[in-house]
Amino acid sequence: MSDTQTIDKMVSQPYKYGFVTEIEYDEFPKGLNEDVVREIWKRRGEPEFMLEFRLKAYRNWLKMEEPMNWPNLDIKPIKYDEITYYSAPKIKKQLNSLDEVDPVLLETYEKLGIPLSEQKRLANVAVDAVFDSVSVATTFREKLKEAGVIFCSISEALKEYPELVQKYLGSVVPSNDNFFAALNSAVFSDGSFVFVPKGVKCPMELNTYFRINNEESGQFERTLIVAEEYASVSYLEGCTAPQFSTNLLHAAVVELVALDHADIKYSTVQNWYAGDEEGNGGIYNFVTKRGICKGDFAKISWTQVETGSAITWKYPSVILKGDNSIGEFYSVALTNKMQQADTGTKMIHLGKNTSSTIISKGISAGKSNNSYRGLVKIGPKATGSRNYSQCDSMLIGNNCGAHTFPYIQQQNSKSSIEHEATTSRVGEDQIFYLQQRGLSEEDAISMIINGFCKDVFAELPMEFAVEAQKLLGIKLEGSVG
C-alpha cells in the first residue's frame, strides 16, 4: 500500500481513536450489588447474554469465601465496598515535552533502553506526527484484517462478534472458578479479544501492536484468545516500564482456547507498582490465567516475567485435553523489598501422549517472599504423557524467603513425571571471577542473575528479552552488596 493510499484511507474513515468518546462524568456508586452489575452491563451496551453471565457470576461470588488464610502470603483485608466497579474512560493529562516528566521515570526508561518516541507515549507526552502511534497502529490493524485475525477490545468484540464471545467466554475459567475470577466475571471492565481463524498464522506478534496501543484497561481486565485449527498467534501483555495504578486490587482473567494443531504463545511482563520499602501501597495482582488445548496436537505456552506488584498471585495453567497436546510454562519471578509472589502453574494432562515443561526461576531479595506453587496431574487416561519441571530459587540477602510447593499426581503406569528444585545463592567465587575480568560488582551480579534466568528469557520475544534483562538489573539495584 502506497503512502498516499494510506493517508487517503486515514482521512476517509471516521476518527475513532481520538477523544470523541463520550465520557461519563456522573458519579458511579461505590460497592457492589445486583443493580451495580446491571448498570455496568447497561452502560457498556453489551448483548443480553452478558447480563446473565455477569449476574450469575455475581451470585456465585456472593456465595464464595474470600481466601484469607493463604500460606506464605500476608494480605491486608480488601474492602470490596469501597471499590468503584465502573470507571469511565479517563483522559490522562497531556504533557508538552519530556522535560515535564518525572526525571526518575525518565531514568528508568533510559536504563531499559526504550526508544525516545515510546518514552513519550508511555509518559503521555504529545507525540509528533512522524511517530504518531495511531497511524502505525492502523497499519497493523489493516494487516491483521487482511489475514482474517480479529484483534480488538472485548467490549468491541461483544458488539461485533457476540456469538464468538458467547461461545468461548467463561469456557476455560468458569465464572464460579474462584473468588477473584467470579468477581472479575461479574464486573470486568475491558480487555482484549483475539480470534485467529482456521489455518491462519498471525502475521505479526501481537505484542508489537500492543506496545503501540497500550491502553489502560482498568482494574478487572478480561482477555480471551481463540486459535482455530492450525492457527497460531503470539501475544504479549504488559510492559517493562513501571506502571502505576491507583487501584489496590487488580483481578484479571485470561482464557486461551487452542483447537487442533493450534499454537498460542502468551507472554507477560509485569512491573506494577510494588509499594515502598515498608510495603505500604503497592498492587495486589490476583490473576486467573488458564488455557485449554482443546484439540489434538495443540500447544499453549506461557512465559512470564513478574517483577512488580506488592502481591502476585497467579498460576497460568494448561488443560491438556487433546491427544499429543503440549503445555509450557516459563517463569521468572523477582521479588524485592516487602514484595510477595506466589506463582506457578497447573498442568492437567487428560489426553494421551501429552507433554508439559515447567521452568520456573524465583529470585528473592530484600525482605520479600517468593513461592513456587504448582500442580502436575496426569490422569488415568493420559497414557504416554510426560512432564519435566525445574524450579530454581535464588536468594539475595538474609531476610528473604524462597519456597516450593509442587504437587505431583500420577494416575497411570505409562507416563512419567520429573521434578527438580534447587535453592542457592550468587556465589562469591562467581562474582570474584567476573570482577577479576573487569566487571563491577553490580554488573557481575546482574550477569549471573541473567544467566540464571536465561532459559526463560529465551522464550520471550526478542526486544522484550533485552528489556527484561535490564529490568531485573534495575529491580535489584541496591539490594546486593
Binding site: 530459587s393 540477602g397 538474609n398 531476610n399 528473604c400 524467603g401 519456597h403 509442587p406 512419567s416 520429573e418
Partner: protein
C-alpha cells in the same frame, strides 16, 4: 470413626494401669474432645483416604496372655535386648534384656522407677508438637505403657534394641497406642528398631508415637518397620531433636496396612548435626500409604539427606510430602531430598509434593521427584543377558527397593526385609504384561 463421644466415654470408663500417667492422659483427653477428625480438606491430610477409619468402630485393647510364637521375628543380633508387646501390652515372658551397659536404661514405662517417672513427665509430648493432631492426642489419651530408652554419656549399645509390637486376632477392632521415648546422652551410640507386625488379616488401628532426644555428638540409627495386617490402619508420628554434632539416621519401611500414615520430623537444633530420613514403601492391592516428613534446619552448618522410594501396584495409592525448612540463621545448610516413585498399574495413584521453605541465603538445598516406570533399556539389557521379561522386571524392582534396605546395619533384619521385597517383586511382576 464412631461418634467421638462413644470413644471418649470408652476412654473415661477404662481402667488404666499406670497411675502416674493419669494427669497426662486426662489433659490429652480434654484436648482430644475439641479436635475434629481430619478430612481431605485439611492440607496435611489432603490425599489420604481416611474414610475406612472414619467408618470403623474401635474399642480399647485389653490384656490377654495368649500364646504367641515370636521366633520368626526375632533378630539374632538383638537377642539380649528385645522387648515384646502384644496388642499394646508388655510381655515379660517373651522379652529378654541382658547385659546392658552400666547406667543404661531399657525399660517399659511400667517398670520404670520413681526417678524415671519425672524423666518421662518432662519428655512425653515434648517433641511431637501434637497440637491439633487427632491421632497423637488419641494416643496420649490412652497411653498406658511404652518403652523408655536411655543411653548414658559416651556409651555404646553393642547390640541393637528391638522393640517388637505384635498384634493378634484378639485385638481385632481395637486401638493400640505404642509409645517410645529415646534419650541419647552426649556421644552415646545405639541402633533402635521399632517393629510393627500384624499376625493375620484383620482390622485394628495402631497409632504409635515416638520421641527422640539426642545430645551433643550422639549417634542413632533408628529403623521403623511397618508390616501390619493388610486390613489394619497404622498412623504413626515421630519427633526427633538432633543437637550439635549429633547424627540421626532414620529408615522407615512400610509394607503392610490398608491405610498407613507416617509423620516424621527431625529438628536439627545444634550446629554441624546431620540427619537422614530414608524411606521405602512397597504397596499393592488397595493399600494406601502416606509419608509426611519435615527436616527442620534450625542451626547453621547442618547437613541432611533424604531418599524416599515407592513402588505402587494395583489400585494402591501412595502419598509423599517432604518438607525441608531452613531457618534464617541456618546458613551453610546442605540439604538434599530425593523421591522416586514407580507406578506399575493404571489404577494406582501417586501423589507427591516435595517442598522447600528457605529463609537463609547461603544454603544449598535441592530436591528431586520422579514418577515413572521401569526403564525399558534396563529391561532390555537384562533380557539380552538371557533373562525373560518377567524375571528381568522382578530383578529390577528388587534392586530398586534394596537401595534403601542395604543401608541398614542389622544383618538378620536385612535378610527378613529382603525376603519380603523379593516376594513383593515376584507378586507385582506376575501379572504384568510380558
Amino acid at each position: 470413626m464412631q461418634a467421638k463421644e462413644t470413644l471418649q466415654s470408652l476412654i473415661q470408663n477404662h481402667s488404666f494401669q499406670l497411675e502416674f500417667l493419669s494427669d497426662y492422659r486426662n489433659a490429652a483427653l480434654e484436648r482430644f474432645k475439641s479436635i475434629k477428625f481430619p478430612t481431605n480438606r485439611d492440607e496435611e491430610w489432603r490425599f489420604l483416604n481416611l474414610k475406612d477409619i472414619a467408618r470403623a468402630d474401635f474399642k480399647l485393647s485389653t490384656a490377654s496372655n495368649i500364646q504367641v510364637d515370636v521366633t520368626p521375628y526375632l533378630l539374632e543380633e538383638a537377642i539380649d535386648s528385645t522387648l515384646v508387646f502384644v496388642n499394646g501390652f508388655f510381655r515379660q515372658d517373651l522379652s529378654r534384656i541382658e547385659n546392658l551397659p552400666k547406667g543404661a536404661c531399657l525399660k517399659t514405662f511400667s517398670d520404670a522407677g520413681e526417678p524415671q517417672y519425672n524423666e518421662l513427665e518432662t519428655h512425653l509430648g515434648s517433641l511431637i508438637h501434637p497440637k491439633d493432631d487427632f491421632f497423637v492426642e488419641l494416643n496420649s489419651a490412652i497411653v498406658d505403657n511404652g518403652v523408655l530408652v536411655f543411653i548414658p554419656k559416651e556409651t555404646k549399645f553393642e547390640s541393637p534394641v528391638h522393640i517388637l509390637n505384635l498384634v493378634t486376632k484378639e485385638a481385632e477392632g481395637a486401638v493400640i497406642a505404642p509409645r517410645c521415648v529415646i534419650l541419647a546422652d552426649a556421644f552415646a551410640k545405639a541402633t533402635i528398631i521399632e517393629d510393627f507386625i500384624g499376625l493375620g488379616e484383620f482390622e485394628y488401628l495402631n497409632i504409635p508415637v515416638a520421641e527422640i532426644r539426642m545430645a551433643e555428638g550422639a549417634h542413632l540409627q533408628h529403623y521403623r518397620i511397618q508390616r501390619e495386617s493388610k486390613k489394619a490402619f497404622h498412623i504413626n508420628r515421630l519427633g526427633t531433636k538432633v543437637d550439635q554434632n549429633a547424627d540421626y539416621q532414620s529408615y522407615t519401611i512400610h509394607f503392610g496396612a490398608k491405610v498407613s500414615r507416617s509423620d516424621v520430623r527431625a529438628d536439627l537444633t545444634g550446629e554441624q548435626s546431620n540427619s537422614i530420613l530414608d524411606g521405602l514403601v512397597l504397596i499393592n492391592g488397595e493399600q494406601e500409604s502416606d509419608t509426611h516428613t519435615l527436616m527442620h534446619h534450625q542451626q547453621p552448618n547442618c547437613t541432611s539427606h533424604q531418599l524416599h522410594k515407592v513402588v505402587v501396584d494395583d489400585k494402591a495409592h501412595s502419598v509423599f510430602n517432604g518438607k525441608i525448612w531452613v531457618d534464617q540463621i541456618a546458613q551453610k545448610t546442605d540439604s538434599f531430598q530425593e523421591n522416586r516413585n514407580i507406578l506399575l498399574s493404571d489404577n494406582g495413584t501417586v501423589d507427591t509434593k516435595p517442598q522447600l521453605e528457605i529463609f537463609a541465603d547461603d544454603v544449598r538445598c535441592s530436591h528431586g521427584a520422579t514418577v515413572g516406570q521401569l526403564d525399558e533399556e534396563e529391561v532390555f539389557y537384562l533380557k539380552s543377558r538371557g533373562l525373560d521379561e518377567l524375571t528381568s522386571k522382578e530383578l529390577l524392582i528388587y534392586g530398586y527397593a534394596l537401595e534403601v534396605i542395604e543401608n541398614l546395619e542389622v544383618e538378620s533384619l536385612k535378610k527378613q526385609l529382603s525376603a519380603y521385597v523379593s516376594t513383593y517383586a515376584h507378586q507385582v511382576t506376575e501379572h504384568l504384561p510380558a
